[in-house]
Amino acid sequence: MAVVETKSLHKKFGAVAAVDGIDLETEEGEYLVLLGPSGCGKTTLLRLIAGLEHPSDGDVLIGGQVVTHLPPRARQIAMVFQSYALYPHKTVFANIAFPLAAAGVPKDERPDKVRWAAGRLGIDKLLDRRPRQLSGGERQRVALARALVREPQVFLLDEPLSNLDAKLRSAARDELKEFQQRVAITTIYVTHDQVEAMGLGDRIAVLNEGRVQQIGSPNEIYHHPANTFVATFVGSPPMNLLTRDGKLLGFRPEQFLPVAAVGERPGQVVFDFAVTRVENLGSDRYVYGHLPAVDPEAKVIAKLPSTVTTPVYVGDRVPFAVGGGDLRYFDQQSGARTDAGEAKVTP
């Protein structure tokens, strides 16, 4: 178990800055998720921490020690790759035993450790198979067992769920969280999937263009986004943003509901919602339209759970309400969160 730290870490590929000055610090035994769109530098950051890439500038610290110039094998880390990167010519047993052999563990001690790791992931019966004889889910467990067997200080996981089908993915997500809590090893997990990030992370670091946009608990990231990038990247559908008095006014689609359904509540703000399209997705209804009184240009989406049965039709102007405390304000130029100022909407 150890704390991983990066200090003004930079990595350039030619003229492109993939990682552009990242300062991060995990907590001991923490599950930290790096979330961002593809090309945001999250995988590069992970590879820098692993030692598979050398930073152009800055330092990586593991357990308080600078490891910037140490090779991966000196860093006491284990990594699970997106492709799992199992050794195709080795059996499951030999795959899991490989890090032990590399670490110089005596031959007679290896089988016990392999069985221990395989047991924790429930793959004891697969030890004689080869990777190509395994399903996607089984491969992922072998990769995890191979990472676990050396009892590393830090786990690095690079989108380990993206090769699984949707049904298996949610089960694997659950297992992964439970597994990490059991072994309590500091884990850095890279994903572009916000559902994975929200579900797994103790904290989430949202990355874009090689920089950390915000770091915080899933709740902070979702309800108190630091800027418009986080506000629109996290959440599906994204936060509604409207221009008002030189600022951007934002609110989440699921907090924007018909007054007829939520009733009159103190502090709520009511808008006339001009509906242009209604999508029924079964569990939710997405209502598309705009707010003529605030910003007729901006598209607004309301997400109505199936428990809200208020009839909404295309062409209608329906009064919708959002709680005054659920409104967020952003600077129009920088996109950063600001206070309401003169743009404040009052009931």
Partner: protein, 313 residues
Amino acid sequence: MTVAQRSADEIALGPRRERFLLDSDRLLGPALLAPAVVYLLLVVAYPLVLAFLYAFSDVTTGSQSLHFVGFQTFIAAVQDPVFLTTLRNTFVFTALTQLFVVLFSTVLAFVLTANFRGRWFVRFLVLMPWTTPVALSAVIWLWMLDSIFSPFDWFAQLLGIVPPGGHIVFLGQSGLAMGSIIALQVWRVLPLATVILMAGLTAIPADVSDAAEVDGAGFWRRLFGITLPLLSPVMTVALLFGIVFTFTDMAAVFVLTGGGPGNATQVLASWAFYKGINGGNLSVGAADALIMFPVLLGLAAILLRIASRAEVN
């Protein structure tokens, strides 16, 4: 004729059928296969049948007729005092050539897939023997190994291996002559093996080597534990190709030594050629050549098995 009648006639006749002849699989398939089949029959099957026919007969370049004599030609071929030398030379020549080719091509493939300045130039140099016409390379090698003007002699004189003005005489001593034809053959086969191995190396996923690095493996463990085992199927293919090319090849011998000194560099292929064509004894030449057949058949079977296994994967 009314309009209705005319259009009914047209529908009945339809567009001209000949335009769509090639849309029929029954016609298009054979049409496209025909050139290859003709080629195989004329240039592969016919000479092979002829070789079998000759090997079991008493035919010579001068004879008008051909009599079936059973295994007599094979017995005569094997009983020739030179035959055993030739057989041994063939195996030594093939084995040593392939040993060096595997070693060098592996190293070269690693070097040429690495990233460094001027890589294209080194690649060009390595692949050059492949593109050089045989006649040109023969002249180059004959000059390099010349008994008087060999540039190797200059270096040997400089280094004091031979006295000033002395010569090594590469092609005049049996050991050195064998070494020379092996060197030429390695030089010829190396580019193909290197290209095959380079393809194999680039096909190994980068993630797998990265994983081995993170798993704590150093350079040698990654090389012998991961990279070489993953490269070995491709290496087998390169090796088998090399063996087939070398076992049946007489170009190196023909260009450099003509089988000499004595028969010290005579291999089955060149022996069959000298006996059957130059010596006029077609039947014994064919028999000598056919003795290679079982070996090649075995190699071809292994190659085809590897190919079909690769298809399955």
